[in-house]
Subunit: 468 residues, 2 copies
């Protein structure tokens, strides 16, 4: 939490400077980003929204009964905030039920382990699986293994996730989660279990989506907590023939209709052009979905609400999109891109908040390279809120990650993610992990970004001018 303090104090101090500056300047229009910042930092709206979502809905796995409650909550919440438009668009989502997941070492001595099923995993047989363990330092090591060393065993991918402000350690280790079951099954393993993709040392396993591949047997896939992975590692050093018992009962229950929930602040002069700010409404089922992605919902909804409340609306429409089933594989994001295919050329720029509630320290963009400097100049007021100018290599966030290829400019408002993977996809993703002041700083940044973009005269496209 301490890291927040410095950033925020800096932000607030510069915010003070900003107030002086705007007093000297006379243009009402350029005052507004500073006003939005002050309004957002003084408001508890963002925190109130995520508190409401976590307490009144809580876990909301895509396709589950709680997902329906979440959609209703979102429709009601956005309506009560007084947006010009609130509507929802259907999305077909898978229904996967977690069931139970238990594991223990049964030889040389019994040691119960804390595990969780990976999202989408099949079940073990009812009687469970008992097998020796084939341990690998990484997915790549498993992929290169001799099948004889893996066949009939439980493959254990024991790779640590490194803490980093950008969260880049996640990208380096998450392959074991998403592709581990395929690699293990190809070598003849009966199941795969990974060291959690997480930076904590809590006795909590991190879930997350995994994949199967046509033609490769579907084997059960689970994650164990970091302390449990340490323990298994220490046991294997003493006895390479240690036996693990695994029992999991997840179920695939077909598909269901969920919704992308959308709200708009209608643009004053270019209402058909869209500045999209998004987050995802679904969550994993073991926490209450506070940092993933209740925080994002709070940030974009509160930011748009502060713009909605301005005496004069910006030129373009601000569209808040709360995506369905992000955790199941960006399903709402892909559905939005498909449903709005013909409207995409009218999307001026898009950004998604899906990295918790750590303070934003930098904004990156993906715009036509020739106007990048102009865009940076235009978003300079965000520096008063602690947001530095970054690069032009943004991907925008998971649910909008397909948009640049479709010609839509994006921005990434970079959050301090050092703590994010301590809690990500665990029961520990709860409201107490959110610092209200850091959340408000995020709201201010998104409000400024959306407002400036909705009024900008810069032509951001085409993207493909840029050398790759």
């Amino acid at each position: 939490m301490k890291s927040y303090q410095t950033t925020l104090i800096t932000g607030l101090f510069i915010s003070g400077l900003s107030a002086c500056q705007t007093h000297v300047e006379t243009s009402a229009k350029t005052d507004i980003p500073a006003q939005l910042q002050q309004t957002a930092l003084a408001s508890s709206l963002g925190y109130d929204i995520v508190e409401s979502l976590t307490v009144e809905v809580g876990p909301r796995l895509a396709g589950s009964p709680k997902d329906v409650i979440a959609v209703n909550w979102a429709m009601n919440k956005l309506t009560s905030l007084g947006f010009d438009k609130v509507y929802k668009e259907p999305v077909q989502v898978p229904i996967w039920e977690r069931g139970e997941a238990k594991a223990k070492i049964i030889s040389p001595v019994e040691q119960p382990l804390v595990i969780t099923a990976l999202g989408g995993s099949v079940a073990t047989p009812v009687e469970g699986i008992k097998a020796k363990i084939a341990r690998f330092n990484s997915l790549e090591a498993l992929q290169q293994a001799t099948p004889d060393d893996v066949k009939g065993k439980i493959a254990f991918i024991d790779q640590k996730t490194v803490r980093h402000i950008t969260g880049e350690g996640y990208g380096k280790s998450v392959g074991g989660r998403s592709k581990g079951a395929i690699a293990a099954a190809q070598k003849g393993a009966v199941a795969v279990i990974i060291r959690s993709i997480g930076t904590d040392h809590d006795r909590m396993a991190h879930t997350g989506i995994m994949r199967y591949q046509d033609g490769v047997p579907k084997i059960p896939a689970a994650a164990m907590s970091n302390p449990d992975a340490d323990l298994v590692d220490a046991m294997l050093k003493r006895d390479p023939n240690a036996v693990l018992e695994l029992n999991m009962s997840p179920k695939d229950l077909g598909t269901n209709t969920s919704y992308n929930v959308i709200a708009e602040v209608t643009g004053s002069s270019k209402p058909n052009e869209i500045v999209l700010i998004g987050a995802h409404l679904d969550s994993w089922d073991e926490g209450t979905g506070a940092i993933d992605d209740g925080a994002g919902i709070a940030i974009v909804a509160a930011a748009a609400k502060h713009i909605q409340d301005l005496p004069q609306k910006p030129a373009r429409t601000i569209r808040v999109v709360l995506y369905a089933a992000e955790e199941m594989g960006l399903i709402g994001g892909k559905a939005y891109a498909e449903a709005h295919k013909t409207e995409l050329p009218l999307h001026y720029i898009a950004a998604e908040s899906d990295f918790g509630a750590g303070p934003i320290y930098q904004i990156d963009t993906k715009v036509n390279e020739k106007v990048f400097a102009q865009v940076q100049e235009s978003i300079k007021p965000m520096a008063y809120n602690g947001v530095a100018l970054g690069d032009n290599q943004a991907s925008g966030g998971p649910d909008i990650s397909m948009l640049p290829a479709l010609g839509v400019p994006v921005a990434s408002l970079r959050q301090d993610g050092r703590d994010y993977f301590d809690y990500h996809h665990t029961p520990n993703d709860t409201l107490d992990k959110i610092n209200p002041k850091a959340l408000a700083q995020n709201v201010a940044a998104y409000a400024q970004f959306a407002y400036i973009m909705a009024n900008s005269n810069i032509v951001l496209t085409p993207l493909h001018n840029e050398s790759k």
Copy 2:
């Protein structure tokens, strides 16, 4: 972890001074505490012991099959360390099995909660209990409640535990755990659930022993994690009629024979007089018993081993006692006091390590007030290891807490316990929570303390001279 650094760096720096000093002095005898410190700080023995215990045994609930494995581990480990004597003494301990514990809010919206059964609790009916919640700020508030407000409900004691270096916040809130079921049943509650007695904000419930009272109905007793207590509190503010479903299946399975495991370094000239250093062998069942009390076992066993290895043994015998069933109510400690009743006058002083592995910053004693200053003078060498002189109000630790009333002097080597109640009695009590350097500092302190006491010429008794 950072707090360790400063203390240890200071300790090591002073340790350097100590080495210089002892070079100037010529008495071999006064050199030994400094030598013990250097040996202990340079050794990984303590860490190796707790690593061995957590990996090769793990959770070891008193009376369970793992308790038997723990006793065998202790006999083998102490024997392999080469002590002059290793033996065990039988102790009758209760057998309590945890079973499953599940809870969720089922109205106004379903919210699963993370709970754990309190140690000794009875089960709910198989179909569970569904009831409204009567929330209280403290045990005292429940005790003063009107029975009509509690009858037929689940009493919820929602008191936070305050972080403090001495751990004193625990003492202020633990009454809700130990006496909550009695107070709730006396008002007609159908169950009691408490906010965990813990300083963390992890989604883990803290177990611990609870009590029933003859003539008062036995109702199920559980704890929920701090974030869950926050959630229930926020739900009750919206809907005081929220309904909680509780389902627990613990079992009382009678009694079993466990053992106090004992090792001795035989005294050179007063072998019948005893300096007792203890810890407890049993642990709760959800972690691997690393900080509670694997650390204590490592500290006292390694400290005694460093004395065992000295070329000349101290005058008195050093007795290492690893107590059975401390968690079940100091059962091994009481059994020791009873079995050694006639020998207690030969116990020169006793100390127990049962507060994790945080560095020791102070030593308190409970000795005859007239010799307190002399005792403090004698243990001054401990300051080179970062241990300051404290007061004469020590209680000595749980398993030896009954000894002062029986005339035995005690000491309390005070550890920095700021993190202790983050992990205490949770699945999170695992090896990674132990800082090897802080553990070694503890070993050094116990070695110095035991050695100095075993050679002391001060008469520490009678204790009752002291005004109370």
